[in-house]
């Protein structure tokens, strides 16, 4: 019983660290940053591979938590938020995070089928998955306020916030110019007739 409890908590922490790294790498990819040591395809692939790795740890975290008799969680509570008796609110936040992450992963694996636009829209949900995971950890984590845990969580939050700040100051990295602005400018050159 103890083992399951520790495994659940450990896997949860690792998931959070990995999820934070995945978010930072995603942002680094979108601003097209690169260096000699880290070409862009590396950040992109690392982002993808760490995401899949974090899923593995997320899986361990969920399975060990459900199987543990202490929590008496049913399998449905894993996907339906706020449906558990055990720590209904804080667990529920974790479930929201899982649902969003699952949507991102499934559409990414099936990207060829769903098409770019759908994939991209769903991918933005990733920005939602992370804060729910952080809150879930703070609210339901037994060690949430242990010093070592505070440091870890603090570093994760700091890294993501810094990356988001960087992204917003660099501006949208996409290079599309809106069609309406280029076409409107041409009013000046055509004859009124």
């Amino acid at each position: 019983m103890n083992f399951l409890w520790y495994a659940a908590r450990g896997a949860g922490v690792v998931s959070l660290i990995l999820l934070s790294a995945v978010l930072v790498l995603g942002i680094v990819t979108s601003v097209r940053w690169s260096s000699a040591a880290l070409p862009r395809f590396v950040t992109a692939q690392l982002h993808r591979n760490l995401a899949l790795l974090s899923l593995a740890f997320l899986g361990i975290h969920i399975v060990t938590a459900v199987v543990d008799p202490y929590t008496s969680l049913g399998w449905l509570t894993v996907v339906i938020p706020f449906s558990s008796d055990y720590r209904q609110l804080w667990l529920g936040l974790g479930v929201v995070s899982v649902d969003l992450a699952l949507a991102v992963v499934v559409t990414s694996l099936l990207r060829d089928r769903v098409g770019y636009r759908v994939w991209r829209t769903v991918h933005w949900l990733a920005y939602g998955a992370w804060p729910f995971a952080v809150l879930h950890g703070l609210g339901t984590g037994t060690d949430a306020f242990a010093p070592w845990m505070l440091v870890i969580q603090g570093l994760c939050v700091a890294a993501v916030v810094a990356a988001v700040w960087w992204r917003m100051s660099v501006g949208h990295a996409g290079q599309q110019v809106s069609a309406s602005s280029t076409l409107a400018a041409q009013q000046l050159d055509t004859d009124a007739r």
Binding site: Q175, Q176, V177, S178, A179, S181, T182, L183, A185, Q186, Q187, D189, T190, D191, A192, R193
Partner: protein
């Protein structure tokens, strides 16, 4: 008169469009522009039928081979054989094709299409109706530039005059103002989704276009010629034309001339003859813009005797294009004129492809710096390099046209470009006594 916009006052356009001019060498060159003068306004259905006779009846199935034999080439700029284009749509049609009449005329120097639509709307509609019957279309879209008010009004009235007898419904769509709105995939995209930006091809419109159906996108002048060929036959069409390419064509003459406007010529007429008819002289010309912004510059010596015939022009590196012939006066700087047009091309980009968005802006800015005497040390060298790199890396041919235009400028005004890079002043400004 500057190159980037010709602004004749409305009354001048009437005489500028040579309806009244039967002083041409023979009747054979006045075909599209035959009939009442422009001051009479749009020709009514009654007058149109009185002058030309009714539209031929069961001619649909034979019209495609007739067009193929006639040698009629498209007049939107690409010069693609019209009969072959109709055939490729008819082959896929299964009765559900669409005819998209392209009257966008986004080329700023060109006036021929808007005038043809404004004064001979029934000739254009005849062509569209014939095309619909020949390719098996069940819908016609008139895609007319939003800024061409007279053309839109004339076509609206003309369609109303014929509503009761139309076998195929005709819808009038206002094309958004813009140079690329007339590109064929952009036109289809706008009709389908309200977005006038070019799309990736394949599939081309004749395969999948409006509402996914095979679509014939054809310029209004091409359809007008087809309407006359349907009545008079391919042999009649081939009677006109001074060289290998048969028929007549509309030109828009602009720039340093005393009589700008739309003319009809027999294909193969030498440029010098067109110049004389418009009041341009060799001494008063520094260079000639042929084919519109999608075409390019020609030097006076090489072009003055040039037959205006695509079969002659293309091997020599010139474009007949949409029939624009614009004269640059010696008082104007070739580098500056090139720069202004490149700036327009850069602003006209649909903004979808990096090489076009960034490349055209870079070449426009470099040319502008050269023109204003403030070049960076490598500007000319960069222009040469970019002119090799940018072409064929966009979804449509817009960057190709801009680069082709730049190349022609570097060739015809090469000495001027070198002078400007070396900051040795501008010959044109020296000639006008400024600077």
């Amino acid at each position: 008169m500057t190159l980037t916009s010709t602004r004749p006052d409305p009354s001048a356009t009437h005489t500028g469009t040579a309806f009244a001019r039967r002083a041409s060498a023979s009747q054979t060159s006045t075909r599209l522009l035959a009939g009442p003068p422009a001051v009479a306004g749009a020709e009514s259905l009654f007058d149109h039928r009185a002058r030309l006779g009714p539209l031929p009846g069961r001619v649909a199935t034979q019209l495609i081979p007739v067009l193929e034999r006639s040698g009629l080439l498209g007049r939107g700029g690409a010069g693609f054989p019209v009969g072959r284009k109709w055939r490729s749509v008819a082959e896929r049609s299964e009765g559900r094709a669409v005819v998209l009449v392209n009257g966008a005329e986004g080329e700023p120097l060109s006036r021929k299409d808007r005038n043809l639509m404004a004064f001979r709307p029934h000739l254009v509609i005849d062509g569209a109706v014939l095309a619909a019957a020949a390719v098996g279309a069940d819908a016609i879209v008139l895609y007319v530039g939003a800024e061409h008010a007279s053309a839109r009004a004339a076509l609206t009235r003309a369609v109303a005059e014929r509503t009761r007898e139309l076998a195929v419904p005709i819808q009038l769509v206002a094309a958004p103002v813009g140079y690329v709105s007339g590109e064929e995939s952009a036109a289809v995209h706008f009709v389908n989704a309200g977005d006038p930006r070019p799309t990736n091809v394949p599939p081309r419109p004749h395969e999948r276009g409006v509402h996914g159906r095979p679509t014939l996108v054809q310029n209004v002048e091409s359809l007008a010629h087809a309407a006359l060929i349907a009545r008079h036959g391919d042999a009649w069409y081939r009677q006109a034309g001074l060289g290998d390419t048969p028929g007549t064509a509309l030109l828009t003459v602009a720039g340093a001339v005393t009589q700008p406007g739309v003319r009809e010529i027999q294909i193969g007429t030498p440029l010098g003859e067109v110049a004389a008819g418009a009041g341009a002289t060799r001494e008063g010309t520094r260079g000639i813009l042929l084919g519109g912004y999608f075409g390019g510059w020609a030097g006076v010596d090489e072009a003055w005797n040039l037959p205006l015939d695509p079969a002659v022009m293309r091997p020599r590196g010139f474009a007949f294009g949409c029939g624009v012939v614009s004269f640059l006066s010696p008082a104007e700087c070739g580098v500056m004129a090139t720069g202004r047009i490149l700036d327009f091309m850069a602003r006209s980009s649909a903004g979808q492809c990096g090489p076009c968005v960034f490349g055209l802006r870079a070449i426009a800015d470099a040319t502008h710096r050269l023109a204003t005497g403030t070049p960076d040390p490598d500007d000319l060298a960069r222009l040469e390099r970019w002119s090799g790199e940018i072409a064929e890396r966009g979804a449509c041919r817009h960057p190709d046209g801009a680069v082709g235009f730049l190349r022609s400028g570097l060739r015809v005004f090469g000495d001027d470009f070198v002078r400007h890079q070396a900051r040795r002043g501008c010959e044109a400004r020296a000639r006008t006594g400024t600077n």
